[in-house]
């Protein structure tokens, strides 16, 4: 508890985001956490962005439709460029991963897919990460890649 916050933060980040030398479950955890943070960032920006549909922060009563249309159209054109489109591809990947891996975590939370308890034997593989859970993890990666490809096609396709 007496550790200074900065060194605590460094240690935490290493533990969260550098799952080298750990098993697949740890990779799933790191990616779940990273994707959660990224999608939360998108959510905040999205609420601000869609606020411009009615004219932005200062509008608290029904404005004229023309004014709302102009502000939304300007917002859309401002955001419609390769930089933000690339961001959306990354967010698509993260969101898809977070969804499927989140379903795995929900099932595990309520006791499904856990496998039977048994005596630990060499090489001491984690019993918690059953075959079906590994399959769902790889499914989430596959779904994430597919979503990213779909997003690339939507934003950059001809």
């Amino acid at each position: 508890m007496t550790e200074p916050l900065i060194s605590e933060l460094k240690k935490a980040f290493r533990g969260w985001f550098l799952p080298f030398k750990y098993n697949l479950e740890r990779w799933a955890y790191a990616l779940q956490r990273l994707s959660g943070i990224v999608v939360t960032g998108y959510f905040l920006a999205h609420i601000v962005e869609t606020g411009n549909v009615v004219g932005g922060l200062s509008v608290w009563s029904v404005p004229s439709t023309d004014m709302a249309r102009d502000i939304w159209t300007a917002t859309f054109h401002f955001l419609d460029n390769p930089l933000f489109d690339t961001g959306l591809v990354v967010i698509g990947f993260m969101l898809a991963y977070h969804t499927i891996n989140g379903i795995r975590l929900t099932l595990a939370e309520f006791g499904f897919l856990e496998g039977k308890a048994s005596r630990p034997d060499f090489p001491y593989e984690a019993k918690s990460l059953s075959k079906i859970q590994r399959a769902i993890f790889w499914l989430s990666i596959l779904f994430a890649v597919a979503t990213a490809v779909y997003a690339i096609n939507v934003f950059f396709g001809v």
Partner: protein
């Protein structure tokens, strides 16, 4: 609220987001040309048409509420895993509750006003 209740809500809102978010992404990407759906008006699923549709507007409000809780509770879990202590945990919770309420108010304002736009 008990920690287990907060986490139960985390899982419930997560599954809710899969459904409400699915509807949201469906209306944006799979109901017509993407550029038409993000235009202010002009198509059956253009921005303002979606907000005027009461079922889709309610879905957006539910999605806003669920994502608001799920995202900020996720941040809370990260922050209390980072550092422990009663003052820290209470401070984190209160700041996130206030931030969550502000986001909810702003998002709800957008939905209500967009729904009422002529």
């Amino acid at each position: 609220m008990k920690e287990s209740t907060k986490m139960l809500l985390h899982y419930v809102t997560g599954l809710g987001i899969v459904i409400a978010g699915g509807v949201h992404l469906f209306t944006v990407f799979l109901t017509g040309p993407y550029l038409q759906n993000l235009a202010f008006s002009g198509g059956a699923y253009s921005v303002i048409s979606v907000y005027r549709n009461i079922i889709l507007a309610v879905t957006l409000e539910v999605l806003l509420l669920f994502v608001d809780y799920h995202a900020l509770n996720g941040i809370r879990v990260i922050l209390i895993e980072f550092h422990q202590g009663e003052a820290w945990e209470r401070g984190v919770s209160w700041i996130l509750i206030v931030a969550g309420i502000l986001l909810l108010i702003y998002g709800t304002r957008t939905i209500l006003i967009a729904n009422a736009l002529a």
